[in-house]
């Protein structure tokens, strides 16, 4: 079924009785050409691009819960391409271009809103660093504008510009940055993959990975054994557990990252604002809630809920930046399980076991990467070669020293 304004109109006339489920609910077959473990954003987009770009349609996505129930449904929905390092820069640039054509491509409204992202700076040194980052973004072919204090004031008059600790000097404006409806991204990719013949199998937990003579032959699941010559692990915070089924030990530590949303308010914040010095970022959803988050809780955790010290820190940072939000009531908070890599950059690579591929290490930045991650993982699984824009996301770069340390803080688990 193709979605359109006309379809919405005619369905409205006839009691909305013509809508059908957006995807099938198939039973697993005994064998597929390829299996993707993980029905989140990255797994679903991998399946979609395997089918669309590479013509592989005898494939299955195995999801232990329901589609899009993990990090793709619990993030702060920010989409941007403001990376500095070669290796990251071209990847996120590619991803943003895919975002810009995503709704037409998927025939699905993912509510992609390029409302502009502003990274604030608070000193001369930070301004220089942001000017350099902006130049790197422009050289990559993306957009960046350096705003002085008056420039920021014109866009965001409600900030506290005179705060004593972090007076606002200006900001780096990335106009093509913005937000998207996170669940809709998972649903759109799921529907697109399903329409191309991909089996999306929910409530199907992988319990083992079969390897014979250094080659993957299939997986064991709670719904029986399934054979496949190619298996992709795309399970974010649970990467270590699934990889261990194939005897792999990953450079990943899972951490908790919290986010918050307030009650619905009238439109007040028109952009995405990033206040790096307070580890705070905020935007307003189309429903009116202020969506904001902070830094990691900074210890390994699978609890999907955080601790109060970080809640307090995030609220303090928000009040420092924009005291006007002090009367808003926080509606709920939640935590996601982040697959943190030592250098803060991801992995899309082979594993040393033939036919077994892994896509992990997205840290706290996986949402904006959903299209390009799937695009590149599909390329890797179909051709056995890394995609050009993801060629530096190797699994062994920590051993070789070929790091992608965007923050420049070092290759150590507790630093990113």
């Amino acid at each position: 079924m193709r979605y359109s304004g006309f379809k919405v109109f005619t369905e409205g006339l006839f009691g909305n009785k013509g809508w059908k489920p957006a995807w099938r609910d198939p039973a697993p077959k005994a064998e597929y050409d390829a299996i993707i473990i993980g029905g989140g954003g990255h797994g679903l987009s991998t399946a979609y691009y395997l089918a669309k770009n590479h013509g592989l349609t005898n494939i299955a996505v195995l999801e232990k819960g329901y589609l899009g129930g993990g990090n793709v449904g619990r993030n702060t929905t920010i989409v941007r391409a403001n990376y500095f390092l070669p290796g990251n820069s071209e990847f996120y640039s590619h991803s943003l271009k895919l975002w810009e054509g995503l709704e037409a491509d998927l025939n699905y409204n993912v509510m992609h809103s390029q409302r502009g992202l502003i990274n604030l700076f608070h000193s001369d040194g930070q301004r220089d660093a942001f000017a350099r980052r902006g130049n790197a973004m422009v050289n990559q072919g993306d957009d960046a504008e350096l705003l002085d204090r008056d420039g920021v004031r014109a866009l965001l008059p409600y900030l506290d510009f005179e705060q004593t600790r972090f007076p606002i000097y200006g900001g780096l404006l990335h106009r093509r940055g913005g937000t998207a409806r996170h669940d809709a991204v998972a649903w759109g990719y799921a529907r697109g993959a399903d329409q191309r013949g991909v089996d999306l199998i929910q409530n199907c937990e992988v319990t083992g990975i079969d390897v014979e003579n250094g080659r993957v032959t299939g997986v064991q699941t709670t719904r029986g054994a399934i054979r496949a010559k190619k298996v992709g692990i795309v399970v974010a915070g649970r990467s270590s557990q699934v990889a261990a089924m194939a005897g792999l030990r990953l450079p990943i530590e899972s951490h908790i990252l919290q986010a918050f949303v307030t009650e619905g308010l009238k439109p007040v914040i028109d952009h995405v604002i990033s206040f790096g010095m307070g580890h705070f970022y905020i935007s307003q959803s189309d429903k009116g809630g202020l969506v904001f988050g902070g830094d990691l809780d900074f210890y390994a955790s699978y609890a999907a809920r955080g601790n109060l010290p970080m809640v307090e820190h995030v609220m303090e940072a928000g009040m420092t930046l924009m005291p006007m939000i002090g009367r808003a009531k926080v509606l709920r908070s939640w935590g996601g399980i982040m697959d943190m890599s030592p250098d803060g950059s991801p992995v899309i690579d082979r594993t040393g076991i033939d036919g077994l591929y892994i896509d992990c290490g997205w840290n706290y930045g996986g949402f904006k990467a959903v299209p390009a991650s799937g695009w590149c993982m599909a390329h890797l699984m179909a051709t056995d070669q890394p995609h050009e824009v993801a060629r530096r996301f190797t699994l062994n770069r920590f051993a070789t020293g070929d790091l992608l340390d965007e923050e420049g803080t070092g290759s150590q688990h507790n630093l990113h």
Binding site: S240, Y302, N307
Partner: protein
């Protein structure tokens, strides 16, 4: 989450700095191959469940602590001083 420091008693999480897995107590010997160092520095079991990791009582006694805890429930099962733990493993 609160940790019970063996020297200071039960204290707020904010007094402690998290370093990482107790893999850091199993430092490779001098001259070990590069792969052993890579494993020591980067690769982790990263368990969902019981784990043991190193914390530093930064705003307290300044001791390194080995904390046995559950990563799914946040229950803290034991807090030991690192020095005796390391000695038991044969490190001076």
């Amino acid at each position: 989450m609160r940790l019970t420091c063996p020297l200071c008693g039960e204290r707020d999480r904010r007094e402690f700095y998290y370093y990482g897995s107790d893999d850091y107590l199993r430092r490779p010997a001098e001259g070990a191959p590069a792969a052993a160092w890579d494993d020591y520095l980067h690769n982790r079991d990263n368990p969902a469940g019981e784990t043991r990791d190193l914390w530093y009582h930064e705003a307290g006694c300044g001791q390194w602590l080995a904390v046995t805890r559950n990563t799914v429930t946040h229950a803290v099962l034991a807090v030991d001083l690192v020095a005796p733990v390391a000695q038991k493993r044969g490190r001076k």
